[in-house]
Symmetry: C2
Subunit: 333 residues, 2 copies
Amino acid sequence: MATIQDVATKAGVAPITVSRVLNNSGYVSQQTRQRVESAAKELDYVPNSLASSLRSNRTHILAMLLADISNPFWTTVARGVEDVANQQGFSVILCNTDEKEEKQEEYVSVLLRKRVDGFLLVPTTASTESIQVIQRQQVPIVVLDRSIPDVSVDTVRGDTYGSAYKLAQHLLALGHRRIAVLTGPRYISTSVERVEAVCQAMSDAELPIDPALILYGEYAVESGYAMTARVLQAQPTAIVAGNNFIAVGVGRLLREVLLRVPEDISVVCFDDVPISWASEPFLTVAVQPAYEIGRCATELLLKRINCAESTPYQEVKLPVEIIIRSSTAAPAV
Amino acid sequence: MATIQDVATKAGVAPITVSRVLNNSGYVSQQTRQRVESAAKELDYVPNSLASSLRSNRTHILAMLLADISNPFWTTVARGVEDVANQQGFSVILCNTDEKEEKQEEYVSVLLRKRVDGFLLVPTTASTESIQVIQRQQVPIVVLDRSIPDVSVDTVRGDTYGSAYKLAQHLLALGHRRIAVLTGPRYISTSVERVEAVCQAMSDAELPIDPALILYGEYAVESGYAMTARVLQAQPTAIVAGNNFIAVGVGRLLREVLLRVPEDISVVCFDDVPISWASEPFLTVAVQPAYEIGRCATELLLKRINCAESTPYQEVKLPVEIIIRSSTAAPAV
DNA sequence: CTGTTAGCGCGTTCAT
DNA sequence: ATGAACGCGCTAACAG
């Protein structure tokens, strides 16, 4: 692999001149410029960003850590991230943490060593360890989708609470009184907020809350399936699924026990279910602006990276759209 | 950010000693080791891989370029890649090319500058340019899923031709004579092979081929939808969808025109359709071993990276599983 | 067992 | 308009 020195020698100039030509910095005469350019081309010269990063303290790499890239919600977020990053000359390293704290910490460690310019983190637990490690190294970080208690950090997320409240209102308006909530882990803010908002809506409507209707599990199909089996014993007339994968599990079980949606039971969920064969969009959902979350977070991160002055931490809350489709109806009498 | 020098000073040793402790290389006495370790911890020292990469010519970063991360087939491949890579101490940069040659070339250029240790490429076109640019820099590369004519390069893919042939045989055995093929772009090997294999199966069964039943489009839902609308005029009794997204488009249109599957028309496709609400797996499919493709390609790539000697290029072809479900039946008389 | 020297490839600083 | 010297942080090669 040719180095800047090789090009310089071939063009009969000093390395610094080559640097000036390639970076369009400083004055270079028209003819030496051409000599350098053709020398570079002949040698298939590819500048070494490692070397320049070492000097400039800029790698132009962002790291994005999320739970699971196989959920289309996250790939859409990732798209937003990638598009903004590329546009501003940054590459993105994407990492799956599988909701495991050790994996997250391992990645953070590796990526800090690689001197990525910033982190986009969907935190796996309520633990603040990873975030603090990053902040201690003064590397900019933006937290996505989930909020973390007791830490000062930029955050971009959908209006989880508000949208859950609206979904609950929709069900209440239809006449539902026994609303089940099947959600993710207790230590993830979105799971908790979804439960709290539904409960609040019930309270505001002066309705009692049956604890047997509230189940915490995982953001996964199997978990949704299992929770549904359990919650049916408490005889809900409607189910709020904590995310799209849980909703899929709900659907699977309901089909097995031959309960029709919405005739026998209503279902709503967060984040759209993957496109698929055999069904038009059918579920009433709270659609978080996935792409926007990625875009917005990345813009904020890049602002942090580019501006030295530390403006106060921001907490951006993006609006969530409620789409009412045909999975909800008045409860059977 | 602390440097190795800072740690050395604090521990009262030379930088190289710190290096030896942290990398477990060479002899270090128990007590200096401890002094160094506690100094490193106190200073929150994070080694700079840029500097060490500059010397070692190893970044431990792989680049993976694919068309679209929102297709679950590719995320599964990417998972295979990531798992193997991490296990061997490598990180992965994932990039979406959107099937666009310029994006691919731009990425290749950026990533070469970053001195990634190797490339995993799902090529967007039949153009060999990107591959040659990479090979000219002596950077190892493995091509995934699609074959490229006239280039010597390692390749890992599913047995496209064989599986398409088997799907066709299945349809023929059911009694279908008018089999439509709706596939991807002409310049992608998988699209072409799927068509060729079906035609071959027809020929082998001594059946005529109606060109009106063969349509090239894009690997996308809208394209599948549009092609279906067009191909129905040629009155097929079965449709072979070139990939999962095309199949979704097929399903959408068939529903609109009230054609039942499999009673009125049979459908088969490649790669499983995303998990979804409301339906059990239903389509008869050729399931490519997505995770395995990623795994295998990465193992091959890492072998290339680690072994200096250049063994001849390999072309790995992985078996494809045919799963017969309920979207296929004998044609209506 | 530990330290010195030197250099990876580039760009900033200061001369010419 | 061009170049020389130096240093970013780390480690291989060679002492001691």
